[in-house]
């Protein structure tokens, strides 16, 4: 994989590098920003922020609720034993297990959605620099059509430009 990227100390400079790449004609989806912490207060930290995760969690919760409701009712009807004078399918006590399974379904669906949408787990092969762990912010482009043309856009504010 070919890549060109800059490493920056300062998130303001990283933001400027993103702007420069856009000005150089690079599509937003082709710009990669990598950091060792989230930058919620910078515009580049909000790219790819939209997610269906909350809806998936709600839907999974609803499915968990329905399945548990069915499982409890079906299992209690299969051997209709009266316990402590309760109905065969007692909703009051069943609600406890239904609640737990609803929440468990939502939690597991959230984690699965995280892994699927963030493409985790992943093997190597993507643009990365271990210096990110030291606090540098990486701004770059994977498989650029013309890496030399992008280097000036990245060479700002003391940033170090690298090509692979």
């Amino acid at each position: 994989m070919k890549a060109v990227y800059g490493l920056y100390n300062d998130p303001h400079v990283a933001q400027q590098a993103v702007e420069n790449l856009r000005a150089a004609g690079v599509a937003d989806a082709d710009i990669t920003v990598i950091s060792s912490e989230p930058f919620d207060h910078f515009e580049f930290g909000h790219r790819d922020a939209k997610t269906v995760m909350p809806w998936v969690a709600v839907a999974a919760g609803a499915v968990g609720l329905a399945l548990t409701y069915y499982l409890l009712g079906a299992s209690q009807r299969s051997w209709p034993l009266v316990t402590s004078g309760m109905p065969i399918v007692p909703m009051w006590s069943n609600m406890i297990i239904i609640f737990e399974m609803t929440m468990l379904s939502a939690i597991i669906a959230t984690v699965i959605t995280l892994f699927v949408t963030a493409s985790l787990p992943r093997r190597g092969g993507k643009m990365y620099d271990p210096e990110v762990s030291d606090g540098y912010i990486l701004v770059g482009v994977e498989n650029p059509a013309d890496a030399a043309r992008l280097e000036p856009a990245l060479a700002i504010g003391g940033g170090r430009v690298k090509r692979t």
């Binding site: 912490e37 207060h41 297990i97 949408t117 963030a118």
Partner: protein
């Protein structure tokens, strides 16, 4: 913000993973020995039968169930507190959350062992699993014991994930600083994490959703543990106040355990720059609040019983107020109410040492509270013919001591192999990170906070 601010943080917090002091081995040896003794004691109980424990008619729930409720209560230290602090975006939470979440996972695992240890035939514990037997009979879902199974497993699963997800970026950081076998292990745990904006946004969204989902689960777990008691018509158990009373007690003991763990980590790993007096002061205030709640619940429960003057309940009441269990009862009151109130209500004594002393009292007091809920009621049932006594045996004491040692052992091992403070969260909370001048026009901090 620049690298010169964040690299020392990472260096400091990763150092315990690469450097091992003699104390680590000493703790491992000491706690491992006690855990081994506990395993031998359990093996002895399995071989000679449950009679080697002090459980006798009518006290079939005793020390093991005391420990079960105690450890489940301690587990409320972590995920619940962490989730609340995440949801309200409390900045001071950052060095605290992981220390707390680990307590939940280990305390819950230890707590979940006790119903199995308590069984005469623990190899049949799988009968609680929700699957039909050979004759298509399912477990009795109307039973509070089945509710426990679902509640504890849901909370344990959620808590493990809640702990693990924010560790992924830190595993990536350790991976980048490691070589050889260690690099392969941390690389596998990091799962290819790079730190792209997409990954960060997904992780933060997931943590928000899980924080919302885990809160009611945490409350439900201890409520359901309280149902183990309140669903039975045993004197002083059949009470509508037990759910919130247990939850308040669980949070109370959980915060105390968290303070003790943080103080130990601060000293042992030299984290004085990260676990500040401010954190202890804030947790001390929370502990004080829960102390007052606890006192309020105990007073409400006792007053209602005393005013009702129902003979079977009064027998238990007087046994704890001025009978055989009175010394334990009043020790509990002093440990849970008098000491924390005296120390924590005064800002001059709400220091790290003060918080630790109060927390020690609360941990002891809450263990006694669990014991006093279970044993006096079972030894004073409705009809005097069913009254009895309970004597603790060495087997029970050894197993109990082993679980405390086990908790210390697991916590020490965790702190050795995983950064005990979330590095990325700490870096994200640096004051210079709050600079929003680069936000696009029309954006606000609130919009950018993901919370």
């Amino acid at each position: 913000m620049n690298r010169t601010l964040t690299k020392p943080i990472a260096d400091d917090l990763v150092r315990p993973l690469f450097q091992t002091s003699i104390w680590f081995y000493a703790i491992l040896l000491a706690t491992g020995t006690v855990v081994a003794c506990g395993a031998v004691a359990w093996g002895y109980q399995l071989w000679y039968g449950i009679g080697v424990s002090g459980k006798r008619w009518p006290t079939f729930w005793a020390l093991y169930l005391t420990n079960f409720v105690f450890w489940i209560g301690i587990s409320h230290a972590g995920t619940l507190i962490s989730a609340i602090l995440r949801l309200v975006n409390a900045g001071w939470r950052r060095p605290v959350t992981r220390c707390a979440e680990v307590i939940t996972v280990f305390a819950l695992s230890i707590g979940a062992l006790f119903p199995i240890i308590h069984l005469g035939r623990p190899w049949l514990a799988f009968w609680l699993f929700p699957y039909p037997s050979a004759r298509e009979i399912w477990p009795n879902f109307r039973s509070p014991l089945a509710w426990d199974f679902f509640a504890i497993n849901t909370y344990l699963t959620g808590s493990v994930l809640f702990l693990f997800l924010p560790m992924i970026p830190d595993f990536a950081l350790v991976r980048d600083r490691s070589t050889g076998f260690r690099r392969r292990v941390y690389g596998a745990l990091a799962m290819g994490w790079r730190g792209t904006t997409k990954e960060w946004n997904r992780l933060e969204s997931a943590m928000q959703i899980m924080a919302i989902a885990i809160l009611p689960v945490a409350v439900s777990v201890h409520t359901i543990v309280s149902f183990d008691f309140s669903m039975a018509t045993v004197p002083m158990w059949h009470s509508t106040i037990f759910g919130p009373y247990f939850v308040a007690g669980a949070i109370f003991s959980g915060i105390a355990a968290l303070i003790l763990a943080m103080a130990a980590l601060r000293k042992a790993l030299h984290l004085e720059q990260y676990l500040l007096p401010l954190h202890f002061d804030n947790l001390g205030k929370l502990l004080l609040l829960m102390c007052i709640f606890w006192g309020y619940f105990v007073f409400s429960e006792r007053l209602t019983v005393w005013y009702g003057n129902e003979p079977s309940e009064m027998a238990v009441f007087w046994a704890t107020q001025r009978g055989a269990y009175a010394p334990l009862y009043w020790t509990m009151v002093v440990c849970n109410f008098v000491v924390p109130l005296a120390i924590l209500s005064n800002p001059y004594t709400r220091t790290i040492v003060g918080c630790v002393i109060a927390s020690c009292g609360v941990v002891v007091g809450m263990w006694l509270e669990r014991f006093l809920i279970i044993v006096p009621s079972l030894t004073h049932k409705q009809l005097p013919y069913s009254w009895g006594t309970y004597q603790v045996t060495p087997v029970e004491l050894t197993i109990t001591a082993a679980t405390f040692a086990g908790m210390i052992l697991l916590y020490t091992l965790f702190a050795k192999f995983v950064p005990i403070i979330s590095i990325w969260e700490l870096k994200a909370g640096l004051p210079s990170r709050q600079d929003s001048t680069a936000l696009p026009p029309g954006s606000t901090k609130a919009e950018g906070a993901h919370s």
